[in-house]
Amino acid sequence: MEALSRPLVSSGSIELSLSGFVWKQIDPFHVWLIYDGVSIVEKTVVGRQETLRQVLDPATSSFTRTMFQVMTGSFADLQSTFLIKPRDEDRQSEWSYELEPRDAAIRRAIGRIILSGDTYLNHIRIEESPGNYTWIELTNQRPVP
């Protein structure tokens, strides 16, 4: 972020299924985002105390839904909200796409999303504006029974 002199770095894991995901952030805080396709719950762990909070904020709902569509490759659903264009300039990946919001209101929060990967989705860059973005690097992806 332009307001910050260094990036905010977090790490964790994502368990993804066809109906939803659990985004487990471990570092620097234990915060889980649980999405079941309809509702979103945030679970915070501070010491031994766990707090569950249902997230009703539509901006977050909208963002979470978008992330789910991105991670599951649901381009058909994404097309209703984003203009999707292939990108040739990313030479480190087999494929790369740029998603531009169709709605002006969404564009104020998300300028564009850039996806790239090979066998799996490896990188997600969510730009609010050129100096303000979120960069998600996905590693060690594997299917689990």
Partner: protein, 808 residues
């Protein structure tokens, strides 16, 4: 017992008989005069569709009363359109389009909704006071955990996937104090949150977007209801066809329209079927158009007189009165039947009859209306008197609805009675009664013959009554004001939708906060917020909204300013700590400090200034101004699950009152029930007194057995039908008192027993038809009323012959 009318009756009847046209003209003139007076006195809306306007909230304190009135006025004009679709974008687009359509319509004003809470123009006023805005959670956090706690919250918010923080917000508000203030400004009822200007929720696979609208006129304006109904139907169809979304309007006006349509359907049904029944009965019995015309005239004139009399006294007629009053068709014709069946005296076995002028007249003499009137005069006069006493008892209840029904029915019956004397000589001038008795007369003769000896029958009925009373299940009294509400699929659907909105529309339960000044009220609200927040966390309520969230007290604003000043300007504290933790750039830190330095201690945001701003549209309805020299605001509540707990918690909080309109109205209903019971008892005693005066002590008391047995048996039967007794059962009992007395008096005083029995039979059939139909009403009150009278009429019909034939 054969009665002669008093001498003055002779004169009146003879005069009316000689001057038929003049008498008829006089009657019409009086009716016209009543009509004109009623029309002049009438309110702009002569038909009142507001069910709750019938129930006054008596004895409550003036602040509560005034607050309730203002909130009701606000709620009455509120309507919410629910737009739903499985895809949120489609629902959102449709909601935007609908908002534009409603804005273009002259039927609506569109408020700036909470939607626009995201819009900088709406919240522009807060910009000048940005360092004075902090919610209680932030202040408590700093108070309890210090600056470290506040910094920790910023970090968690930034790392959280559940909170989207735009980059420019972090630059302007690094501690996210204003961010949290605006996020907590307007509490939406779960599961709703605000999305691009609309309250939105995802429930059971569909997205629901709410578009609030305000009506330009009151919800109970009849003509406006029609326009809204037509407009809504067209809009719903268009959105389903073009946008494939479902749109549903919810609000007081939706209920009012459903109630109105139900009432009109029922009035039409009852009216049409009653008229058909009366017509068939008349034509088959008298085989002449004249009795039919005369009775039709009675029905029309009595309904008209009843309607306009209500307009004169009350300026409007309630739907409840129209439905109940339409049953007047069944009882206003009783006097006509008694007179018309007297014309069969020739066919009644050819028995000689005593002439009203003294001596006996041969039954072969042509029947004349004046002769008939002189014969039936005692019975119909006493019958009218007892009915009027019954209605007087009703009006003593204090319940506006019953008073209207009492006036409607009393004036209607009196008109029927007067019409009999003044109009029937002219209306029946060409009527030639048949000399051969109709099937009805033969049935009446047969039925009458069954009661040659009345003692065994009376003893049986009395014994049965006692037995049934002893074994009847006890049902208790039902004071629920929701009796006034109709139960139809349309209204049940509205209830489900309203429950779904749960707090998006102003409900009947809210808190009134009073104080000597605006500052005092705002501080009280802030103190109350702690208690209400606890209740929200425990689930006793789901959410609440307060004015002080939008306009913090001056004390709270000063506290917020001090906090910001300390965070930015005190050396080595929060801003530096925050910078260390998240890496704020020097530019951001410098900008924050400079801005704070340039801000001298400002004047607080005042309520007056806020009310002038666009932001006021978000919560103006929470401000009630000055009531009874008290500054007053309202705290709206949603999703109340534990009212008792809420009541108990508020008991010790001064300057705070919980308003529960439903409970208050039900309590008032209880008072009405007590008053109505007392009124009925007094009416019974007065009628007994009248009977004693007319028939002597023994005879009078014996006659009173009829309404007594009818009333007790009716209540007992209701208990067996699992009907808890309510106010409208008591109304029915008052009507049974009058009708039961009519039947007994017709039989007791008529020289032609079979003719009188035929009149009673016809009266009972028409009454059963009218009130039997009423008992099928979807409105609980009308159902109770109709069922009681239908049962009571049947019982009165069985009991009257037993009592009319006095033993020994």
């Amino acid at each position: 017992m054969i009665e002669s009318p008093p001498p003055w009756w002779h004169e009146l009847i003879d005069t009316a008989g000689k001057r038929e046209r003049a008498s008829f003209g006089l009657f019409l003139f009086a009716l016209m005069l009543l009509g004109m007076t009623g029309a002049l006195r009438s309110a702009s809306e002569p038909i009142n569709t507001d069910m709750l306007s019938l129930v006054g909230v008596e004895g409550s304190d003036p602040v509560k009363k005034a607050a309730t009135r203002r909130i009701n006025h606000y709620a009455e004009r509120q309507q919410i359109w629910i737009v739903s679709h499985p895809q949120f974008e489609r629902a959102f687009e449709a909601a935007k389009a609908l908002q534009a359509d409603l804005k273009d319509s002259i039927l609506y004003d569109l408020p700036e909704s909470a939607a626009l809470a995201a819009d900088a123009d709406i919240l522009g006023i807060y910009e000048s006071y940005r360092y004075q805005l902090a919610d209680e959670v932030t202040l408590d956090l700093v108070r309890d955990g210090g600056d470290t706690a506040l910094v920790g919250r910023v970090e968690r918010n930034l790392y959280s996937r559940a909170m989207v923080i735009p980059a420019d917000v972090l630059s302007e508000d690094p501690f996210l104090i204003r961010t949290h203030f605006f996020r907590n400004l307007f509490r939406t009822p779960p599961p709703f949150a605000i999305d691009r200007g609309f309250m939105a929720a995802s429930v059971a696979g569909s997205w629901y977007y709410l578009v609030p609208a305000r009506l330009t006129r009151g919800a109970f304006d009849f003509a406006y209801q029609t326009r809204i109904s037509d407009f809504s139907d067209r809009l719903i169809e268009r959105y389903e066809d073009r946008h494939q979304v479902r749109v549903v309007p919810v609000g007081v006006i939706s209920y009012a329209i459903e109630n109105r349509e139900l009432a009109l359907r029922e009035v039409r049904l009852i009216g049409v079927l009653s008229i058909v029944m009366v017509t068939l009965l008349l034509i088959s019995t008298f085989r002449s158009i004249y009795p039919f015309s005369a009775v039709a005239f009675t029905i029309v004139s009595s309904l008209t007189a009843g309607f306009f009399a209500c307009l004169v006294l009350f300026q409007s007629v309630h739907l409840l009165t129209l439905i109940g009053g339409s049953s007047l068709i069944g009882i206003s014709v009783d006097y006509s039947f008694h007179l018309l069946t007297d014309s069969f005296r020739a066919a009644d076995g050819g028995a000689p009859s005593r002439s009203p002028g003294g001596g006996f007249s041969h039954s072969e003499e042509r029947w004349r209306v004046t002769h008939g009137l002189k014969t039936v005069a005692p019975a119909v006069t006493l019958g009218l008197a007892t009915s009027l006493l019954g209605f007087l008892g009703l009006s003593a209840s204090g319940f506006r609805g019953l008073q209207e029904i009492a006036v409607f029915s009393a004036v209607g019956l009196t008109t029927a009675f007067t019409g009999l004397i003044l109009c029937y000589p002219w209306l029946l001038a060409k009527y030639e009664p048949t000399r051969r008795g109709s099937l009805g007369l033969r049935i009446a003769k047969l039925w009458s013959g069954l009661f040659v000896r009345s003692e065994p029958g009376l003893i049986t009925v009395a014994a049965l009554t006692v037995l049934l009373v002893l074994i009847a299940p006890h049902q208790g009294i039902d004071n629920d004001v929701r009796l006034l509400a109709a139960r139809t699929p349309g209204i049940e659907r509205l209830r489900e939708q309203s429950a779904f909105l749960a707090g998006s529309i102003v409900a009947s339960q809210f808190i009134v906060v009073t104080g000597d000044s605006v500052e005092q009220v705002l501080r009280k609200e802030e103190e109350l917020r702690v208690l209400l927040s606890d209740l929200t966390r425990s689930g006793a309520i789901s959410h609440f909204n307060q004015l002080s969230r939008f306009v913090p007290s001056a004390r709270r604003q000063a506290e917020a300013y001090e906090l910001n000043r300390r965070l930015y300007l005190e050396p080595g504290t929060a801003i530096d700590l925050l910078s260390q933790h998240i890496g704020l750039t020097d530019a951001v830190v410098r900008r924050g400090r400079d801005a704070m330095r340039e801000t001298s201690r400002p004047e607080p945001l005042t309520l007056a200034a806020w009310l002038e701003s666009p932001a006021a549209s978000l919560a103006r309805h929470l401000w009630l101004g000055e009531i009874e020299n008290q500054v007053t605001s309202v705290v709206t509540l949603g999703g109340i699950r534990d009212l008792k707990l809420l009541e108990n918690q508020l008991l010790d909080v001064s300057g705070v009152r919980l308003v529960d309109n439903v409970s208050d109205m039900s309590a008032v209903f209880g008072l009405y029930v007590d008053n109505a019971l007392r009124g009925l008892a007094v009416a019974f005693v007065l009628v007994a007194g009248l009977m004693i005066w007319r028939f002597g002590f023994r005879g009078g008391l014996f006659i009173m057995l009829a309404p007594l047995l009818s009333g007790v048996l009716t209540i007992t039967m209701l208990m067996f039908l699992n009907e808890p007794i309510n106010l409208f059962h008591i109304v029915g009992l008052a009507l049974i008192l009058g009708m039961g007395m009519d039947y007994v008096l017709f039989l007791k005083t008529s020289p032609h027993r079979s003719c009188a029995m035929l009149a009673v039979l016809m009266a009972a059939v028409t009454t059963e038809c009218a009130f039997g139909l009423l008992s099928t009403s979807a409105v609980g009150a009308i159902h109770s009323f109709g069922l009681t009278v239908a049962l009571g009429t049947a019982i009165s019909f069985l009991v009257a012959p037993l009592v009319a034939k006095e033993p020994g």
